[in-house]
Amino acid sequence: MKLSELRKRPHISASQINQLLNICSLQFYFERIAKLPKPFVSHSLVFGSAIHRVLEQHFLQLKAGRVPDLEMHLDLFSKMWKRANDEQTVKFGAKDDFDSLADKGRNMIQCVVENIDPDEKILSVSQAFCVPVYTPDGSVVELPMIGEFDLVVERKGTPVIKDWKTSAAKWPADHADKSFQGTVYSYAWNQMHGFRPPIEFDVVTKTKTPGYQEHVTHRTEEQEQRMALMISKAQQIIKHELFYPNETGFYCAGCPHATACKAWHKRCPSAASQAA
């Protein structure tokens, strides 16, 4: 089943939990509960999405045993990038604009393609999953965990889950080991198949000459239990509406809900009742 179909069911996702616990719980509230309209979208979101969709097409061709037409796929990126910018207001940072990212995107896709290991067998591309979450006390969380593996390959007889990342800079050595998304992928695969595969983050940088890194990481049962407890706590935060701004957040600069955030303490019902 496609991810868009699975998403119709009330669910939990790694990005939801990451936004709630690591980015800003108030941003989570504005975006996913209050569903405030966004005056703009971040360039990194739109850019990353276009790269993903093009790589998806490239690997689908490879999986089908065809020779992908790289030029055609690079042109596809250019078209998708332009269309995405035409359809919505995209906010750029100080370092990039539409044109610079149009060039970088093409170079980055080429860089990923050049680093494909021909010995790896492609098992699936954009494979959606839906699995239950068990809390450490053994009970089942009502909402299932939904997500998508970008790519699953077989390397030396072992499945490896790959996730494509576009990043402003190279990842620090321990970044993959701490990734919540990595834990979710390992957990989901273990739920479906009964073992934990290696997780690989293929990071391509948005630098003038793209850099390419493969970060392989593994998860343990203990890390998955910790993940389940975090999900359980996240659900309590949502249930009790404990949303507040992350005042020193790294993501504030690109947050589309900055205006609502500034007025939050004046409009928050619990703040008003406490003041009374």
Partner: protein, 139 residues
């Protein structure tokens, strides 16, 4: 001896205008004394979830039966609900599976073999109810 009463009721609209049908389940269980607060809370939570899931399952079963009957076009809801099993139903299936030492791959295999659904999340409401019956019989 401690006694725990858990009940759950829900009203659902029927095919006729301004009409609804009530579903109610009550369960009384005895709890052993000497349990900690956390143990009691867990038992209360589990019992309530069981009653709630049973009512939801019953509603889903009834709803799927009534949907199987052809309705006059004018009485069909404009936005018919998705026929997929609810999260409550699946939570109940997983709980029954846990009690019978069946992990997700086992339950998915049952869904595939018996209902041609790739996973339990692809089951229809009706087939989810049937799988619940199968699992209960496997006790």
């Amino acid at each position: 001896m401690l006694k725990l009463n858990a009940s759950y009721s829900k009203k659902v609209p029927t095919d006729q205008k301004f009409s609804s049908q009530s579903y109610l389940a009550c369960l009384e269980v005895e709890l052993p004394t000497g349990q900690t607060t956390a143990q009691l809370q867990k038992k209360i939570h589990e019992t309530f979830e069981l009653v709630k899931a049973s009512v939801e399952e019953e509603i889903a079963q009834q709803t799927s039966h009534s949907h199987a009957r052809p309705q006059p076009r004018s009485q069909q809801p404009s936005n018919a609900p998705d026929d997929k099993a609810t999260n409550k139903q699946i939570q109940f299936i997983l709980k029954l599976g846990q009690e019978r030492h069946k992990a997700l791959p086992d339950l998915n295999a049952m869904a595939d073999e018996q209902f041609k659904s790739a996973t339990i999340y692809d089951l229809t409401k009706r087939d989810a109810s049937r799988l619940v019956d199968v699992l209960k019989q496997a006790a």
